[in-house]
């Protein structure tokens, strides 16, 4: 299970967009692909990560992260920051 605190932060950042698309919170699972679901576009995804960097004070290697399978899922984003302890 991914870090619940970090996960909540990610959820809060995507909540408005999800609501506009009619997605319920139960649909926002760890394996939800943020890009393929149409929730974010590429730029939106990068903005999300940059926003999380500011909030956590951590800097992540986005290029390497994108090469990992599941890198653009909700769980993948949380994992990305968890790795960067």
């Amino acid at each position: 299970m991914a870090d619940p605190h970090l996960r909540d932060t990610v959820l809060s950042l995507i909540a408005q967009r999800a609501a506009r698309l009619g997605m319920s919170t139960s649909e926002l699972t760890d394996d939800l692909d943020l890009l393929r679901s149409g929730l974010l576009d590429s730029l939106g995804f990068v903005d999300l990560v940059v926003d999380l960097e500011k909030r956590t004070g951590k800097e992540v290697d986005l290029i390497a992260a994108m090469d990992r399978p599941g890198g653009t899922t909700l769980g993948g984003v949380v994992e990305l920051f968890a790795r960067q302890a």
Partner: protein
């Protein structure tokens, strides 16, 4: 080389197959095809078209990242027919509209996609032919590509093989692409800049490398892993890579040539790219689909500008260009003429007549709707649009086309979609003045509009702000979209 058929796309590929048969032509979806292999797969498609479909008809090609899409385009052209690309990410309703308007008679798609298509069409679907011969039939039209239309929905631009030949004549003569090059294929096949990707690369015997799906965020790795030497994309990709911190000094030492097209290229982006690809040159291209791929070019040289955007450049040799003057003779709407000007919009005479004009001397012109200024050196600079059209990641969008679809679902009230400039790009926001279920509306839009035309939000207003002429004040709506 003065033979008008020398640069015909079919002839261009045939020459490369004869010269470079054993060289790698295409890397896609984990496969690698030589020119000889691509040639055989294209012949199988040409044979199927000849055996199954009416002469000279149009054939849809589902633009998935699969060798069949590429062989499909080549095979359709070889059979003397024109192709109509369908974007895999677009809703099926959009495909249906395109196929109906263009009177498509058959579809090329990998067998894995047939089930998805069978529910929507009774047209014949491509199956590889057991035996095939070399099919080459003359054909006038090359493709029909759909672009956003302000009234009446998407417009299909009819482009001829002679139009494409005129583009290739310049591209293959002017740009130094070599057989050992690895070229990108980033543009969707439903975007006419993909025609450049395919035929400029193959015309020089180089290798076309198609990234895997979802690669927009993996472009830096793709560039390195595939040892890319020739790049072509929309400028907004630079912004994306910059934000990913992928553009470090010297990141891409192998890049020799980079081309950008589809939207304005900010100087800041050009500079960032030059730092990441220090051994390469940058060329900015400009051109609407109606004038075939690109028609102005600007080699980006030092000293780089610090503000604003890179000029659109000067016309290709043979292209005709004029400015319909406004306040002074050098500023106004850009009109394009010459051998690259397309036939018009399929089944849309009124829309065609509105922008394709013939002057008293019999020269055909396309009025671009782009406001430009020509400087003392003859170089064109982009000033803006005459209408509301915007570019979203290089895609042309008429906000009123979104309004039309929203209006169809609402049945009452007014709809106004505005485009607002945010960090990294343009986004659309739709306002409606009647109460409605915006979530259901968004779902409905998803079924009819391509992803880049979907508004980021649909907002309900009691009353639209009006300007002093009593019209909806779009500037005020943009303010609301930005801050509301």
């Amino acid at each position: 080389m003065n033979d008008p058929t020398w640069y015909d796309p079919v002839t261009v590929l045939d020459r490369s197959v004869a010269t470079y048969s054993g060289r790698e032509a295409l890397r896609v979806a984990g496969r690698s095809l030589t020119y000889a292999e691509l040639d055989r797969e294209a012949d199988a498609v040409a044979q199927w078209c000849s055996d199954t479909l009416p002469t000279g008809c149009r054939v849809a090609v589902l633009g998935v990242r699969d060798a069949i899409s590429y062989a499909g385009i080549l095979g359709v052209l070889r059979s003397g027919r024109a192709y109509v690309p369908l974007h895999p990410d677009h809703p099926e309703e959009r495909w249906r509209q395109a196929m109906e308007q263009a009177e498509v008679q058959g579809i090329i798609a990998p067998s894995t996609e047939h089930h998805r298509l069978r529910g929507h069409t009774t047209l014949p679907l491509y199956v590889p032919m057991p035996h095939c011969s070399r099919v080459r039939r003359p054909g006038a039209e090359a493709y029909v590509m759909f672009t956003s239309g302000s009234t009446g929905g998407p417009k299909g631009v009819q482009v001829t093989r002679a139009n494409v030949a005129a583009y290739l004549r310049h591209a293959l003569q002017a740009w130094d692409i070599r057989p050992e090059d690895r070229c990108t294929q980033l543009f969707g096949l439903g975007f006419d800049l993909s025609v450049h990707d395919l035929f400029v690369c193959w015309g020089k015997g180089a290798c076309l490398s198609v990234p895997d799906e979802g690669h927009a965020l993996r472009l830096a790795s793709y560039l390195k892993d595939e040892r890319i030497t020739v790049w072509f994309s929309v400028p907004s990709v630079i912004g994306l890579m910059q934000r990913m911190r992928a553009l470090e000094p010297g990141s891409f030492p192998l890049l020799r040539l980079s081309f950008f097209c589809g939207e304005a290229l900010p100087w800041a982006y050009a500079s960032a790219w030059a730092v990441a690809a220090p051994n390469g040159s940058i060329t900015n291209l400009y051109g609407p689909t109606e004038a075939t791929i690109a028609i102005l070019e600007h080699p980006v040289r030092t000293p780089f500008g610090t503000m604003g955007t890179v000029p659109l450049g000067k016309p290709f040799p043979g292209a005709l260009v004029r400015v319909e003057p406004e306040e002074d003779v050098r500023t106004g709407e850009l009109w394009l003429g010459g051998p690259q000007v397309a036939l018009g919009y399929v089944q849309r005479q009124e829309a065609t007549d509105a922008v394709f004009r013939t002057d008293p001397r019999g020269t055909r012109w396309y009025a671009t709707g782009d406001r430009v200024r020509q400087d003392d050196e003859g170089c064109f600079h982009f000033l803006g649009r005459m209408d509301d059209q915007v570019k979203v990641q290089g895609h042309r969008v008429e906000p009123s086309e979104v309004d039309r679809v929203v209006g169809m679902h609402l049945g009452a009230g007014r709809t106004v979609t505005v485009a607002v400039e945010g960090t990294g790009g343009v986004r659309l926001v739709t306002f409606i003045d009647v109460p409605g279920d915006t979530v259901a509306l968004m779902r409905a839009l998803k079924e009819q509009l391509p992803p880049y035309m979907l508004p980021e939000a649909i907002l309900i207003l009691g009353h639209f702000p009006l300007n002093s002429n009593g019209k909806v004040d779009k500037r005020a709506l943009k303010e609301l979209a930005n801050h509301g």
